[in-house]
Each structure stands twice: as structure tokens, then as C-alpha cells.
């Protein structure tokens, strides 16, 4: 499930200070956000190959990560490209629907192209960041930024609990599937709601057990973040 974490813990820059990596990432991101397509394409090549080397990823594995935002990218780009108007003058390609022309103009095509390049180049930078900075180090960066302590604690605890829940969820989901729990729409909803209920019950039990465990260890309301 959290493959990104696995990749991040094995990268070659693990020992580099997380603040330096974050700073480097921010500069890369700003360059990609503010520059024009030629530079953005260059950045894609440079940062992309850097990421593949540093994170020990094959091209195929790295490329698969770009399929994640693909639905959003395609739908939005098509929406931006298509425009409607009553006179057919400005279109490069258009079809007539009723009294309206729907089609693409050179301007909208150019906008979609620039947007696509900018978006993908920024994504390359973000992938560099998430593949080289594991979660533990992100917490360190957060505390350097002086976010409130309790907020960081809750973030850290949430991260821990996600793994506990993932295991339980996976087990319940599988066993429901084996019993045809997701066989049709109605049973799917019931199964998923049952799963939610079980998770809540698990949650409260976890909470009680942890309260007791912390009580025993003289918990005084603070989790050391490790500054």
C-alpha cells in the first residue's frame, strides 16, 4: 500500500539532512512553476533521471507513478481545450451542435499544452521529494517549521495508526470478498458499512488499550517528537 515509504527509506540520500532536501525541492518546484516549457522539459529530464538514480527505480517503475494523476489531467485538459462560441471564425477544428460551435482554438490548445508540461514538471519535482524524504524526516521538517506541537503529535500518531488499521482493513475486506460481500451493489454497501463499523469498534478498543498502557508509563500529555 504505502510503496512510496518503502522507496524513500532505501534511497541514496537518506543521510542528507531533510531540511536541505526540502529546500532543494522548493527551489526546483518554483523554477518549474515560474519558467516556460523549454526549461520545464529540461527540468523533467534532469530531475527525473536524478530521481531514478537516487531512489534506485527502474524507468518502468518510475513511469508507473505518472499514471496516478492521469484521470484528472486528461479530464481537465480536454475541458480546457474545448470551447464553445456562436461564430466559427476562431476555431481550428469545430463541430456544430444546434446553434453553437464546439471545438478547439489555437489559444486553448496552447494553454492546454503549457499547462500539461508545467504540471508534469512540477510532479517530477514532487516525486523527487517524496521518494527521497521518508515520513520520519518530514516530521522533523514540520517541527523545524514550528508548527504547533500537538498538531505534529497528532500527525505522527495518525501515521502510526494508519498501518494498524490497514492490516485490519485488509483482512476484513478479503474475508468479506471471500463470502461474496461485494457481489452486487446492495451487499457492497452493507459490507462496506459493516467494515466501517468494525473499524470504529477497533478504534475504540485501541484507544482504551493505549490509554491504559500510557497510564502505566506515567503519560503526562506529551509525546516526545525528538527535537
Amino acid at each position: 500500500m504505502l510503496i512510496i515509504d518503502q522507496i524513500a527509506y532505501q534511497n541514496r540520500l537518506l543521510k542528507v539532512s531533510p531540511c536541505k532536501k526540502s529546500f532543494f525541492y522548493l527551489i526546483l518546484l518554483l523554477i518549474c512553476l515560474l519558467s516556460f516549457p523549454a526549461i520545464q522539459l529540461g527540468m523533467m529530464l534532469f530531475v527525473g533521471s536524478l530521481t531514478m538514480y537516487v531512489a534506485r527505480l527502474s524507468f518502468k517503475r518510475y513511469f508507473k507513478w505518472f499514471l496516478v494523476p492521469l484521470p484528472f489531467l486528461l479530464i481537465s485538459l480536454v475541458t480546457i481545450m474545448l470551447t464553445g462560441s456562436k461564430n466559427p471564425v476562431s476555431f481550428s477544428h469545430a463541430i456544430l451542435v444546434g446553434h453553437y460551435y464546439i471545438g478547439v482554438t489555437p489559444a486553448s490548445l496552447a494553454m492546454a499544452y503549457q499547462l500539461c508540461i508545467r504540471s508534469l514538471s512540477c510532479l517530477v519535482c514532487t516525486y523527487f521529494f517524496i521518494f527521497t524524504v521518508p515520513f520520519q524526516q518530514i516530521i522533523q521538517v514540520m517541527s523545524k517549521l514550528h508548527l504547533p506541537d500537538f498538531f505534529i503529535e497528532i500527525t505522527m500518531l495518525m501515521y502510526r495508526f494508519i498501518f494498524i488499521f490497514l492490516e485490519v482493513t485488509h483482512m476484513i475486506y478479503k474475508s468479506q470478498q471471500l463470502r461474496f460481500g461485494y457481489h452486487n451493489l446492495k451487499t457492497s454497501y452493507l459490507s462496506m458499512a459493516q467494515l466501517g463499523r468494525l473499524l470504529v469498534i477497533q478504534m475504540l478498543e485501541q484507544f482504551q488499550q493505549m490509554s491504559v498502557a500510557l497510564e502505566i508509563k506515567f503519560y503526562d500529555g506529551e509525546f516526545p517528537i525528538g527535537r
Binding site: 475541458t79 512540477c122 503529535e153 497528532i154 469498534i201
Partner: protein
Amino acid sequence: MTKSTKLKVTGTAGLLLYFLTVGEPEQANAMHIMEGFLPPAWCAFWFAVFIPFFIYGLLNMRKIVQKNPESKMLLALSGAFIFILSALKLPSVTGSTSHPTGVGIGTLFFGPSVISVLGTICLLFQALLLAHGGLSTLGANAFSMAVVGPFVGYGIYKLARKVNLSQSVSIFLCAALADLATYLTTSIQLGVVFPDAGLGVFGTIVKFMGIFCLTQIPIAIAEGLLTVVMYNLIAEYMPHAQLKGGTN
């Protein structure tokens, strides 16, 4: 129309419908605006709009935590619960799959301001651990998903209870409309940035809404239904739970 043209037309329409609903890729995720999609000035603008709400939520949370340090764990557990919900695949009415946002159910149990903080952490995790959404667009995404969604859902729920709609109907409306409000906000965010020469800003917003609504209305209905069933099951287990939604 001859028989063959009729066939062709229905075939094309059917295919289009299929691609808009069932034929989506498996990863038909909650539509977060992806990394780098908004220009820097707009990223900053949405961060600025979102931060006051975030601080308000943090202050509320601090009160809860100071009163009872153990509630930190309960908050974190709930946050993890919402995150897991958003990672599950929910079969939608049309047969496609979507991911429930968990915002509706969270809002009912904790009220909107706490969820705005937990939802933001969830978005951060999605950006960092699942590569959904982005860091530069976090402000815009958090505003639509963790501010507009919960607050609209909460308002709708209160309103629905006031006009004496049944509990289940109110919960359904809360979750479904919170979902739709999130996408309307996303449409506005995109429409304002990429105005169409032929349509103007407003026309562009409507254009985005049209495209998103085709894919999102079934998903919102699915989310609403799931929230009702789940809420009832959980309420059965915890009859004395303190609900911020003020159900009684």
C-alpha cells in the same frame, strides 16, 4: 433516420456513457487538483483563504486536547479512520468505483472545524504517501475538501433537521451535498484560472461543472448512501455517543 444510423448513434452514445462512467480507470480518485496545475499566485491565494479556517480548527482542537490530553489519540485514530475510508474502493451507482471521502461521517461525529484539520492532514498524507493531489495545490484542495465540504455538510444537516426531515435523509443530504460542494468549489477554482475566450469566466466555471458533475453525481449519491448505512451501524454500537451533529 434509417435503422443503421440509429444503431450508430445509440452505439456512440452508449460508448460515450460507458467511458464517462464505467470505463474510468480503476484509480478514479477523489478529484484533487494535481501538482503544478495552478499558477503560483493562485496557489498562494488559496493558501491564504484556507489558513484562517485551519487556524480556527487548530484552536478548537487545542481546547479539546488541553481539556483532556488523551483525546489526542482519539483524534489521531479518527484521522486514520478517515484516511483509510478514502483509500477504499466504493462501488458507485453506475458500476464505476470511487473513493469515499469520509468527510460526511467525520463531520457528523466531530463537527466541521475539527474535520478541517484532520482532513488537511489526510490530504497531506495523500500527497506524500499516495501521490494524490499535490503540495503546491494543497491550499486549494484543502479549501474545497476540508473547509467547504464539511461546513456545507454541517449546515445542510442542521437545516434538514430543522425542517423535520428524517435522520437518515438528513445524513444522506449532508454527505452527498458536501461531496458536490467540494466539486463545485474545484470547478470554480479551475474556471477562474483558465477562463475561456469564448465563454468568459462564468461560462468556463459552468463548463467545468458540467464535466465534473457527469462523473461526480453518481459518486455523491454513493457516498450519501454509504454514510447513512455506516452511521446507523455505528450509532447502534455507541448509543450514547456525543454527536456534534446534534442528532437528538
